[in-house]
Assembly symmetry: C2
Homo-oligomer: 201 residues x 2
Amino acid sequence: MPVHVPRQVDHKARRDQIAEALLDIVASQGLEAISVRAVAAQAGVSAGRIQHYFANKDELLAYAIEYQDWLVQQRWNEQTWPEGEPTPREALRWVLLETIPGDDRRRREWLVGVAYLIRMLANPKLRALYVDGLPRLYQLLADLVRMAQEAGDIAPDRDPGMEAELLFGLADSQGPPVVLGLRSPEQAAAAIDYYLDHLFQ
Amino acid sequence: MPVHVPRQVDHKARRDQIAEALLDIVASQGLEAISVRAVAAQAGVSAGRIQHYFANKDELLAYAIEYQDWLVQQRWNEQTWPEGEPTPREALRWVLLETIPGDDRRRREWLVGVAYLIRMLANPKLRALYVDGLPRLYQLLADLVRMAQEAGDIAPDRDPGMEAELLFGLADSQGPPVVLGLRSPEQAAAAIDYYLDHLFQ
DNA sequence: GTTTTACCAATACGAACGTATTGGAAAAAG
DNA sequence: CTTTTTCCAATACGTTCGTATTGGTAAAAC
């Protein structure tokens, strides 16, 4: 039972600031460029501070990707709609556009996801981030298609599962060309809108 | 003018053997795991040999991805069809299935492509590998759709450009789930066949 | 045989790495 | 004030890195 309790700082804020610096480096230079000293320099803190908050480099790398996952979930949870509930089409469009690396934030998330992918193969904890999320996304898309069908906005002979595959593939495949500057985010969004126009009656 | 010419080895074969080792490491452990010594060990040669054939690490990394690109092009060029020219549908199916990381070779190619992606952002030479190839692939898919339309096998109201987008997206989005073991190569192929069945009349 | 030089194994070297260790500042409780 | 403990800057240590350098081997030309 401690009698003397010294000051306490906000641990999560400290860790998150360090994770932010790490994610910036990963997105621009890849995982190869990550060193404790490089992250410290990017974050504007001492390497000692990083050692104080993370036992080793692996833990630091794991925290950063989980932090990014948390950031994305925050954004999805906090998404509010100006006028009540969105229609299935509005929700569908929002989800699909969300995956396009169109602004700095999403571009960083996309590149970090790519950079961590090979690590996921051998690391079950990292793998779970992808393996858990992907089927839920497919399910969400299929459900939205089904809802639009029931409302009569999509032809009843369309298969929701197949449409979910097509929609996800269409959105997902915009990533590389957009990130590489081969296609603008607006062009990518236009491709999705074009297909939505055909899908919805 | 050299009077004495000592023995010459097959330079390309030597470089390719080293590139093979590098690609194996990249696919299984990522670019972070690449060091001259690690590649030498994987290839079963001395580090001195690698130094002899590559001026520095960057040149080694550049050669390896160009070598992989060459391998892929070789396979595409050497593709022969058992009975004369393939139908557009057969060609379409072959191209789409080709992108799925279903066997060890394609799985390695897929993972290496992912690993190099961030490097492409800042490196024009690497960028060109992607930037040149992607539009040509879209064009090929759209042309095949158009040919099938002219043969009356696809409904004339389908837009070849949009169908090329959908087909590529569908095939491309199979990569992550297949590589992560979330979906079998057979399931990925089935998804493509299912859509082709709907596209073709 | 001698000579020449491509080939490459081995070693060396300085820089950068992950991390263990040390020491001190600073805030809260008594 | 003193005490306690968190926080972290600084330094040190052993390893690994990219690459420069050295030296020797062996095949081809003469």
